[in-house]
């Protein structure tokens, strides 16, 4: 077969496999790709992941097709004499084209991601820990409900500064409201991962790490520690709930009165806490 027809066959096979993969993975299975659609964050992340998958599949298909095509068509005869392949050492035009295409893809991806991240309101980067001065925020970030996530070995507690700074071991957030998580730690590095909310932010001692979420519907979500933090790292989890606004009001009121005694003993609300190191002589 001539070089040309090899090329044509390969391209056709690649195209075919790409179409099949795209249809199966993106069109049919695309909806089920995590992380679901509970919040604005998960929806945005889902869209990004599906987009990246759609871009990755042709690349996958190309290498697969190529390896299979080469294995079938470019093999030496099993017991014949040693034969040599076609002695070409490169093709400048093809190399330049390859560089150009990959560069375009990468630049496109980076532009897609960067514009998204830098777009401020409505960015899909709001669910990740952005440090004390978030760049990506929801539209009405000023009115967001603040929830402080305090990690320590190996429990989570949560403070609601708008409700008397009450601290509770439960996490509940109201549906349809912008929530601003302030994640910090009292000892080692943990990571706050609210899986179904699409929120992940490292809890670093002495640092404030902000992430946002707006839940679209009620339900429960898992919270897991996502950074190795010692003995019970794998067990450092809890379940949170997204509830209706009135349920939330009622619940937080209950927490306030239940923990009133201990709230008085807490240090004043702050974005970071500096527990003094214990030094025994």
């Amino acid at each position: 077969m001539s070089e040309r027809s090899h090329l044509r066959n390969f391209l056709l096979l690649w195209l075919g496999l790409t179409v099949v993969l795209e249809v199966v993975v993106v069109v049919i299975l695309g909806h089920d790709i995590p992380p679901g659609s509970m919040t604005n964050d998960t929806r945005a992340q889902h869209d990004v992941i599906v987009t990246l998958t759609a871009i990755a599949l042709p690349v996958l298909a190309m290498v697969w097709t190529y390896l299979a095509y080469a294995a079938v068509n470019f093999r030496a005869s099993a017991d014949g004499p040693l034969e040599d392949g076609a002695p070409d050492r490169g093709n400048a035009r093809l190399q330049i084209a390859w560089v150009a295409v990959t560069a375009c893809m990468v630049l496109g991806l980076a532009a897609y991601g960067s514009i998204d991240l830098l777009s401020g309101a409505g960015s899909s980067g709001v669910g990740s820990g952005e440090g004390p001065n978030p760049l990506a925020k929801p539209a009405n970030a000023g009115k967001a409900l603040q929830v402080q996530v305090i990690a320590q070995q190996w429990v989570w507690t949560f403070r609601y500064p708008a409700y008397g700074g009450v601290e509770t071991p439960m996490l509940e957030i109201p549906v349809g409201t912008d929530v601003e998580f302030h994640v910090t730690s009292l000892d080692v590095v943990h990571s706050f991962w609210a899986i179904e909310l699409g929120v992940k932010a490292d809890a670093v001692p002495g640092a404030d790490n902000v992430a946002f979420v707006t839940a679209d519907r009620t339900g429960s979500f898992q919270v897991r520690c996502n950074e190795l933090c010692g003995l019970w790292h794998g067990h450092m989890n809890t379940t949170g709930h997204v509830v209706g606004a009135s349920v939330f009001k009622q619940w937080i009121g209950g927490q306030e009165s239940k923990y009133a005694g201990v709230t008085k003993q807490l240090p004043p609300y702050s974005t970071t806490y500096y527990p003094q190191p214990i030094r025994n002589g």
Binding site: Q153, V155, P169, D187, L231, H235, M236, Q265, I278
Partner: protein, 217 residues
């Protein structure tokens, strides 16, 4: 020839075996379980917390000890509770001095029957955040019990584990519902370990000292 092959296989197998056995030996290392004594539908656990005069190989680590049904103190934090019981009643003899909580929230008693503990016979539902020497905290059960420390100027302080009740101590008792069969971790949440900048190393991260398992089966 055949002998040599067998020799090669045998020495190969021996090497692999030694390595595997070593790791299993090291990894399975855990303290023995201590069974609760059962009175009717209540399982009774009796524990003590000791300051830094405990057990080899880490004699100056703070530690729990548990009393087995025959009345002997065991150096263990693997607590076995029969699934048939309805309540677990825990008595802790606390022989350590106070360190104070890093997060005062854990001065609040949670998860016990009635939401209280008996501190030397007095019911409490929270304590002063500076007073705990340890806590008995099982996050998966929602259980948190602060264990106030003894006065550091107390006279007859314990000096060798296991401590005796004639020595200065606080007695904390509480009851919680027997959870579903399973294994539940418990830990101490006071940064009480001796000698660490961060207070949470060593015994605080070692099963058999300040961490353990409640095994309901």
């Amino acid at each position: 020839m055949r002998g040599r092959l067998l020799g090669v296989i045998a020495s190969f197998g021996l090497l692999v075996g030694v390595v595997v056995v070593y790791f299993i030996f090291i990894l399975e290392e855990a303290p023995p379980g201590v069974a609760a004594s059962v009175h009717g539908t209540t399982a009774q656990l009796t524990l003590q917390t000791d300051a830094s005069y405990g057990h080899a190989p880490y004699p100056d680590w703070v530690t729990y000890e548990a009393r087995d049904p025959s009345g002997h103190w065991q150096h263990s934090t693997i607590l076995k509770i029969p699934a048939g019981t309805r309540y677990v009643h825990v008595t802790v003899y606390e022989y350590d001095t106070a360190t104070g909580l890093r997060n005062p929230f854990f001065a609040y008693v949670r998860g016990t029957v009635g939401g209280v503990i008996q501190l030397n016979g007095r019911p409490m539902n929270y304590v002063d955040a500076a007073s705990p020497a340890h806590t008995f905290t099982a996050p998966d059960l929602g259980l948190n019990v602060p264990l106030p420390g003894i006065d550091s100027s107390a006279k007859n302080q314990c000096a060798a584990a296991p401590c005796r009740t004639s020595e200065a101590h606080n007695t904390i008792s509480f009851t919680f519902k027997t959870p579903k069969p399973g294994n539940y971790r418990f830990q101490c949440i006071v940064p009480c370990a001796l000698g660490f900048l961060y207070g949470f190393g060593g015994p605080m991260q070692t099963i058999g000292y300040m961490d353990g398992m409640i095994e309901v089966a």
